[in-house]
């Protein structure tokens, strides 16, 4: 095999470029005949520049014909690193183990060249980058770039999520601004709903939500406690779990039909506030059960075991340790169902909500305007009615109704967030 030194004579020259893109470093424009000479030149040059304090720019050795325009093209064929400040011998030239000082870099590269492990063809170049002690390596730089990209991608998604909410709210409030007065909330709809306020549907929604939660929350929470704390993993538990999951996925209109069958007809409640509330309750039940179970499961098992080890019964453990530490999660789950119940139209459509029924809007009767057997109005359905079923309703009233509905939902949600953050700040472990 021919030695590298002979091969170097094929009209190729080696140019030492002190800094990429500039020519002022390459005073040997005629080029050097062998790579070894070029490497030694690098060593001398590096010694000189380090005194000038320019040691931090990479040095490159370009291999090309003498008569062509000397220009760096593409990525370097080799990338070596040198710890410019170090004076020990050694190192391997990699990023993690750079050559210790320029002297050992030149030594190492010359040795490598003589072993034939440094072939450099025409148009290729070799880069020797000084590396500061705490300077980020290329890998670290890449990591940082990816980190930044990831951060901004996630951030933009989060912002994309918030923007529509703000846009919807702003649009609604601006459109509804003229009617948003206390009187709007406290008056019945008048004049075939083209005037007046939304008292009847507002109170109707309040009662629907309150009664449905009064029915669903105890059942849901207790069922969740049973499933998480008592139930063993057997076929019955699995069946119940399956039922809960499936119930959560049932469309609300199907709940409505179930409500008609079970509450309106079978239980003989007729179309009434009670039947509509029960239907809503059935709809919210699975989510209450699931969120209760999750809240209970977030209490570490070791607490329960510590109590059982002291001879506490399951109920004593639940009452003294598990429930006090999961009540925030349970409450949050229940409160979030308020907004769901308030917003649904389908389940109450056939079970108790009506087109129009005026109720007492002043005097003491206004506090209890509906009886359990009465039919009632509801905000969500009222909005649908105003928008599609009645002619001549001004836009402001429609938008005003929407603002009240969405405001109600937001208010309830913020209460739940408030409760959660208060209880979390008192978290005990």
């Amino acid at each position: 095999m021919k030695s590298k030194a002979e091969f170097d004579d094929g009209g190729l020259r080696y140019f030492v470029l002190a800094r990429r893109g500039t020519s002022n470093g390459s005073h040997a424009t005629e080029g050097l005949r062998t790579l070894e000479e070029a490497l030694i030149e690098v060593g001398q040059r590096a010694g000189a520049t380090s005194e000038n304090g320019e040691a931090n720019s990479p040095i490159e050795i370009m291999c090309d014909r003498a008569d062509t325009d000397i220009r760096l093209r593409g990525r370097p064929r080799y990338d070596f690193f040198v710890d410019a400040g170090a004076s020990d011998a050694g190192g391997e030239g990699t990023e993690l183990q750079p050559y210790q000082g320029f002297h050992s870099a030149v030594e190492g590269l010359v040795r490598r060249h003589r072993e034939g492990r440094l072939p450099l063809d025409r148009g290729q170049h070799l880069r020797l980058s000084p590396r500061g002690v705490f300077a980020p390596s290329q890998l670290e730089r890449r990591k940082k770039i990816r980190e930044t990209i990831a951060k901004y991608v996630f951030m933009s998604m989060a912002i994309a999520l918030v923007l529509p909410v703000i846009a919807i709210l702003g649009y609604l409030v601006i459109k509804a601004w003229p009617v948003l007065t206390p009187a709007f909330l406290l008056e019945n709809p008048q004049n075939r709903m083209t005037a007046g306020g939304i008292w009847a549907p507002l109170v109707g929604t309040f009662f629907l939500v309150a009664i449905s939660l009064a029915a669903a929350a105890p059942v849901g929470v207790l069922a969740g406690v049973y499933l998480n704390e008592y139930a063993r993993d057997n076929w019955l538990t699995r069946l119940i779990n399956l039922a809960v999951v499936n119930l959560a996925g049932v469309p609300s209109i199907v709940h409505a039909l179930f409500g008609v069958g079970a509450f309106v007809l079978f239980a003989g409640m007729g179309r009434s506030l009670l039947a509509a509330s029960c239907t809503l309750g059935v709809m919210t039940l699975p989510v209450i059960i699931t969120s209760t179970r999750e809240a209970l499961a977030s209490v570490p098992m070791s607490f329960r075991e510590a109590c059982w080890n002291m001879g506490a019964t399951r109920w004593q453990t639940i009452r003294t340790i598990v429930l006090p530490n999961s009540v925030s999660g349970i409450l949050t789950g229940v409160i979030l169902q308020v907004s769901r119940a308030a917003g649904e139209t389908a389940p109450i459509l056939f079970t108790g909500a009506v087109f129009y029924v005026p109720v007492a809007d002043h005097g003491w009767e206004a506090f209890l305007p509906y009886g359990l057997g009465d039919r009632c109005m509801a905000l969500s359905m009222h909005l649908f009615t105003l928008a599609t079923q009645v002619r001549g309703v001004s836009e402001e009233i429609q938008y005003g109704t929407a603002v009240v509905l969405i405001g109600l939902v937001l208010a309830v949600n913020s209460v739940s967030i408030g409760i959660r953050s208060y209880l979390r700040s008192r978290k005990k472990w």
């Binding site: 993993d233 059982w308 002291m310 001879g311 506490a312 003294t320 340790i321 006090p324 005990k428 472990w429």
Partner: protein, 252 residues
């Protein structure tokens, strides 16, 4: 052995699914003595303890065969398992401070057992905390959360809790791993005193701790009971080669 046996294992076998955790265990634990258990990791020591107060029930897929009796009654036949557990104090290696105040942590078990009188509770809490060598560190902050104590303090809190229901049997599983040597020695002195009131089963990785404290020592290896006997005999004249290697540090 003249002393009456307090806990008796009769050909006990425990398996978790297909993995056998304890095999052919027959042993008698004498009353009012310290019974040391040594052995390498995964040799079934903790499972052994869990059989005594039946917390093995909480491990899904755990199957127990054979008979474990406390005071001559088979624990797996006992209806009121809570009563059994109240008579047994248990300290596991991972310290668990309940999310209650230090005071309530220690008063937890007595209250569950119906003790309501404040002065009696105060006395009991102080006594237990003193026995766990924790009193001096927490006496000024009894209303602080138990979960906020340091690891070693929480472990002593666990010990105080285990003592709070005045158990007849105290099971200690590596109670000293997070506790400094000086405090450990103090607790060991307390254990030697407590011996008069209760039977102590001490699982430990510190072979010397077993040597110092235990009246009888059992050596577990690979889910089997290799050897059991008077501590002096186990340490000076072990019958089994493995035991000898383990107690002298030449194991493996």
């Amino acid at each position: 052995m003249v002393t009456e046996s307090h806990v008796r294992f009769d050909d006990v076998q425990v398996s978790y699914g297909s993995k056998v955790a304890l095999q052919d265990i027959s042993v008698e634990i004498p009353r009012n003595r310290i019974f040391g258990i040594i052995g390498p990791a995964n040799s079934g020591k903790t499972t052994f303890l869990k059989c005594i107060n039946r917390t093995i029930d909480f491990v899904p897929a755990a199957k127990v065969r054979g008979e474990v009796s406390v005071d001559g009654k088979n624990v797996f036949r006992i209806r009121n398992v809570y009563n059994l557990r109240r008579r047994i104090g248990m300290v596991f290696p991972l310290p668990v401070g309940l999310p209650l105040s230090v005071y309530d942590n220690v008063a937890y078990a007595p209250r569950r057992a119906g003790l309501r009188d404040r002065t009696q509770l105060d006395e009991l809490v102080e006594k237990c905390l003193r026995q766990a060598v924790l009193w001096d560190e927490v006496k000024d902050r009894l209303d602080q959360l138990g979960t906020k104590l340091s690891g070693g303090q929480q472990q002593r809190l666990t010990l105080a809790r285990a003592l709070s229901h005045r158990p007849e049997i105290l099971c200690l599983d590596e109670f000293s791993i997070a506790i400094d040597p000086v405090t450990t020695m103090k607790i060991e002195d307390v254990l030697l005193e407590l011996k008069n009131e209760m039977t102590i089963v001490l699982v430990t990785n510190l072979v010397q701790q077993a040597h110092r404290l235990a009246d009888h020592t059992a050596f577990f290896n690979a889910s089997r009971l290799v050897e059991v006997g008077e501590t002096e005999q186990i340490f000076s004249d072990p019958k089994d080669k493995l035991t000898g290697a383990y107690v002298t540090g030449g194991f493996g």
